[in-house]
């Protein structure tokens, strides 16, 4: 049989199986190989909240989606071209995400009676046998059996053998997409360094999968995806949580301050704790606290002592930290609070993404409690914004909330990483010691940015007290004076607002800087909006995109920028939060687009929503200044 070689501009593959089937690893390895080949890419891992949900059931399905191409790739893909299903539950859970006419690679061992029953298919029904899949191309194969056969001459436990079956899939897809196996082989040798037989088994099955593609004579095509036209430079692949960690490490290096990280494990933020724990050689102390409150409180204690104090969590944990964040606002100490948002309220959907903590960041503390809010827009941008969060906190002696989310945290993309010498120093200094007792030391004297000095214990002659009670400006003495309270509320607000002079101006990401429509996004929606707007512009729409990474304070020029458009549309993965703030701040009739399904925007659905607003609203012709 002749095997055709087709060139594709972009491909989306979705690996789906039981939580125990190793789909996340398969996806990550395919991603690394693909990144090394120079494709642009985005990934979306999706897994159940339970560590081992009942095997074979729909809730137990774990998936990994990878979108890669020779063109710019900004999203993990709305729908996939290829769906790998290791069992019938995986098919059931993911079929709706496969393009009509798409490819299915199905492990028939996962479609036996028991598995079909676990996946709750009706008695006697088997989607591989009836016409459920008639509009797709289905490749059926008994992956479990072929794995067993490949390893029949090796002395391995049944469990170890079964665990290798994901390598078969990986090998097969490497063959289909013309990818080399060497980086994966290297990885396996390293991972199972202490168990060479397990490494050998995995490699053998990987190669078996590859050769199966070549010899089985069931595949009619192989596919090539050429290198993407990325900016020249050196790249690596990175997830949002990894780059957040690196941003903090860079900040500690460039501020020459020790970093103290107080945290309590929570999905999807825990990887930041894991990551930082490994980099103690950079002067980083990690503290796994007894709870969220102790986590933030310990960071405040360390900040009082002159460290870069950082705490991390997700929505429910941030709620618990609220009072302590207010203390940091009151004390005017630098503090970075990382919120890796997930779907709420309450425990919500721990492994699903959402942007619904923006108003919490703005207003979710008692009293008038202003803090800075920033949000990264892509997995790699997490590096930049974690660094920025640290810089602002330290240079302005103020708490900063950093709003990433589950989608950014676990998603990955190629990153043209910077070098240490390209990064700016973070300028911080401590209050100087004083000899003899002159006038009492005044801890709350401010500079022209309304910023007080950092007066750390161990400094002679500046012993002083700070606290959560309202204080008199300059002296820091407790004060219940009515006029003083009003003044201090205003001072703390002015101090936060002044940060606007030290952040970049808001840019238009795409399109003209005046026109009919501006799509204004923030955070992780960047990729979807960018792609949707690019396509709409191709179709002839006058539409622009601006993406906010600095949310409180807003960039100084934002109001002027917004006024250049007839209509501002704000898409968010929540029930409408930034849109309220924009309406409130700028008194404009901004329109929301909201998706609250625990998943990022698909490009097609976003385009449709934007077009609906455009056609519904009959946007009046703009009166152009002449």
């Amino acid at each position: 049989m002749d095997i055709k070689n087709q060139v594709c501009e972009e491909v989306t593959i979705r690996f789906a199986g039981d939580s125990g089937d190793g789909m996340q690893l398969t996806g990550s390895l395919f991603t690394n190989t693909t990144a090394l080949l120079g494709n642009d890419l985005r990934t979306l891992p999706e897994f159940p909240a339970e560590i081992r949900a009942p095997a074979g059931t729909v809730p137990g399905v774990s998936s990994f989606q990878l979108h890669f191409g020779s063109k710019e790739i900004m999203t993990p893909g709305d729908v996939c071209d290829v769906l790998v299903v290791m069992n019938s539950a995986a098919l059931k859970a993911n079929l709706s995400l496969l393009k009509k006419g798409g490819l299915i690679i199905a492990n028939t061992a996962g479609f036996d009676k028991r598995n079909l029953k676990l996946a709750k298919y009706p008695e006697g029904a088997n989607p591989l046998e009836d016409d459920t899949l008639s509009s797709y191309t289905v490749y059926e194969m008994d992956i479990s059996k072929m794995t067993k056969e490949a390893l029949s001459d090796m002395d391995l436990s049944y469990k170890d053998v079964d665990r290798c079956k994901n390598m078969f899939v990986l090998g097969l897809l490497y063959w289909m997409y013309n990818r080399p196996m060497d980086s994966t082989i290297q990885f396996l040798n390293k991972k199972f360094g202490k168990k060479p037989d397990v490494a050998a088994a995995n490699i053998k099955v990987l190669k078996t999968g590859y050769h199966f593609g070549e010899t089985a004579e069931i595949f009619s095509s192989r596919y090539t995806v050429e290198e993407a036209d990325l900016e020249p430079g050196t790249y690596r692949n990175i997830t949002g949580n990894e780059s957040t960690v690196l941003g903090l490490v860079a900040a500690t290096k460039k501020s020459k301050l020790p970093l103290f990280f107080g945290s309590y494990p929570i999905t999807p933020a825990s990887d930041i704790l894991h990551g930082l724990s490994r980099y103690k050689n950079f002067g980083i102390t990690t503290f796994q606290a007894e709870d969220e409150i102790a986590a933030v409180s310990s960071a405040i204690g360390a900040a009082f002592g002159g460290s870069l104090g950082v705490t991390s969590s997700s929505g429910p944990g941030i709620a618990l930290k609220g009072e302590a964040i207010g203390l940091a606002v009151m004390l005017e100490l630098p503090l970075v609070v990382l919120n890796i948002q997930r779907a709420g309220p309450s425990t919500g959907m721990p492994t699903k993404t959402e942007q619904a903590d923006l108003l919490q960041a703005f207003y979710g503390r008692n009293g008038e409690s202003p803090m800075v809010v920033v949000a990264p827009s892509t997995p790699a941008d997490c590096f930049q914004m974690a660094f920025e969060a640290s810089r602002i906190a330290l240079e302005h002696m103020i708490p900063v909330m950093y709003l990433s989310d589950g989608y950014l945290a676990n998603g990955s993309e190629p990153w043209k990483f910077p070098q240490e010498k390209d990064l700016k120093n973070i300028e911080v200094g401590f209050e100087s010691p004083r000899e003899g007792s002159e006038e009492p030391f005044l801890p709350y004297v401010r500079d022209e940015r309304h910023v007080r000095s950092w007066a750390i214990p161990g400094t002679k002659g500046i012993e002083h007290r700070v606290g959560g009670l309202e204080k008199e400006d300059e002296t820091g003495d407790v004060s219940y004076d009515p006029d003083n309270h009003q003044k201090m509320v205003k001072v703390r607000e002015a101090k936060r607002d002044k940060v606007a002079d030290f952040i970049p101006r808001q840019e238009i990401d795409q399109g003209n800087d005046q026109g009919d429509i501006l799509i204004l996004g923030w955070g992780s929606t960047y990729g979807s909006i960018r792609t949707a707007v690019a396509e709409l512009r191709k179709d002839g729409h006058d539409i622009s995109h601006a993406h906010l990474r600095y949310l409180s304070p807003f960039p100084r020029n934002l109001e002027a920028l917004l006024s250049g458009f007839d209509k501002v549309i704000v898409p968010e993965i929540n029930n409408g939060q930034l849109v309220r703030v924009i309406r409130d701040h700028f008194m404009i009739a901004a329109e929301p687009i909201n998706k609250i399904k625990g998943r990022p925007f698909g490009v097609a659905e976003l385009k449709e929503d934007i077009l609906n607003i455009i056609s519904d609203k009959q946007i009046p012709a703009r009166t152009k200044a002449s």
Binding site: T285, G301, F430
Partner: protein, 358 residues
């Protein structure tokens, strides 16, 4: 090569010698703030003793930090001319942990109360003790919520009539010393506001101990719970109702030192030293004995209907042992990591695999 940070530079260039430290007087530790506790509050004597003990510690003032939570006692840092933070309810141990771990050279003191540490902040209290962070925790126990004007507290005896329990409290109180021992605290001691000399001694011991030092101080709230500890503090009843523990000494008490405590197996008994028993038969206090410390912490029957206690209430150091401190452990691990691997940011940013786009 140790990692040089700004804090290290700063501390190194900013030394204060110990000779200077010993030349302090207690006045040097009193801040310019007016003290605002109710007249007659037990907090005053505790403040005075802490100010008195400070010059003896040999620690430069710049290296002393007081951290408190919320409650009457929590105003304390404002009255000390050292570094201080009056923080939020119950969280002082967590804040102190962050500070001590990142700045181990500081002498960190936590000022807290029975509501602050045994109710809203109970979790942080036990975690601090089991981790053995090298700080001193002063638990001002007055068995009442003073600042919120008189609700029963987690150390108030069952049946306490208070604003929130007009028919008597129902919940069983915490025994702070048993709780501390249960949390594997390495230093557990008790003192009272009305015995300043002994209090000062206990403060010194708490400071000397390397690890989390938990000192419970009976403190009279004259407004909402006056006389809660009168049996122990009153000069007349004190000899009969209290026992002052000394390491290596027998458990003797009474006005004429005519009573003692002996152990029958693991059952403590109060005996008269009048012939049948002599000092040689008594329980010899051993600060390192966990089992006996637990027994001592349970000498806790409360007086009822004017009846005397069955056992005298122990004061002094019940338990003191050495165990590696958390801050030392963190420091050692960090230093090991620093000595093992160069902090090369460029290598870290590049990660395990890179590729070039031309």
């Amino acid at each position: 090569m140790p990692l040089e940070t700004k804090i290290d530079d700063f501390i190194n260039s900013n030394g204060n010698t110990e000779e200077e430290a010993v030349s302090y007087s207690s006045k040097d530790f009193s801040s310019d703030q007016d003290v605002r506790w109710c007249p007659g509050c037990g907090d005053y004597t505790i403040l005075k003793q802490i100010q008195n003990v400070m010059p003896d510690l040999g620690v430069p003032k710049k290296d002393i930090v007081f951290i408190s939570g919320i409650g009457c006692a929590a105003r304390f840092p404002y009255y000390m001319d050292t570094f201080g933070m009056h923080s939020i309810h119950g969280r002082a141990p967590a804040i102190a942990t962050g500070l001590k771990v990142s700045r181990p050279e500081l002498s960190v003191w936590i000022i807290t109360g029975d509501g602050d540490s045994l109710s809203i902040g109970a979790n942080h209290f036990v975690q601090l003790l089991r981790r053995n962070v090298n700080v001193n925790l002063m638990l001002f126990n007055n068995q009442i919520y003073g600042l919120t004007k008189g609700q029963y507290s987690p150390t108030a005896p069952e049946g306490t009539i208070s604003k929130s329990t007009p028919f008597g409290s129902i919940d069983h109180p915490f025994n702070p010393l048993s709780l501390s021992l249960g949390a594997d605290g390495t230093f557990v001691a008790r003192a009272m506001d009305r015995d300043p000399r002994h209090l000062k001694k206990m403060l010194n011991r708490a400071h000397e101990h390397q690890g989390a030092s938990m000192l419970e101080i009976y403190q009279n709230c004259i407004v909402f719970n006056d006389g809660a500890f009168e049996l122990f503090t009153d000069k007349k009843s004190r000899p009969r109702e209290t026992i002052y523990l000394e390491d290596g000494e027998p458990l003797v008490f009474g006005k004429d030192k005519d009573k003692g405590v002996r152990l029958d197996g693991l059952i403590p008994q109060v005996v008269e030293l009048n012939g049948e028993y002599s000092k040689d038969d008594l329980w010899i206090h051993d600060e390192t004995d966990t089992t006996k410390a637990n027994l001592l912490s349970r000498f806790f029957e409360h007086p009822q209907n004017g009846e005397h206690l069955k056992f005298p209430r122990p004061f002094g150091v019940l338990y003191a042992v050495d165990r590696p401190t958390y801050d030392e452990g963190v420091l050692a691990q960090n230093e090991y990591a620093i000595s093992k691997r160069e902090a090369n940011l460029d290598t870290l940013l590049a990660g395990p695999e890179t590729w070039d786009v031309k």
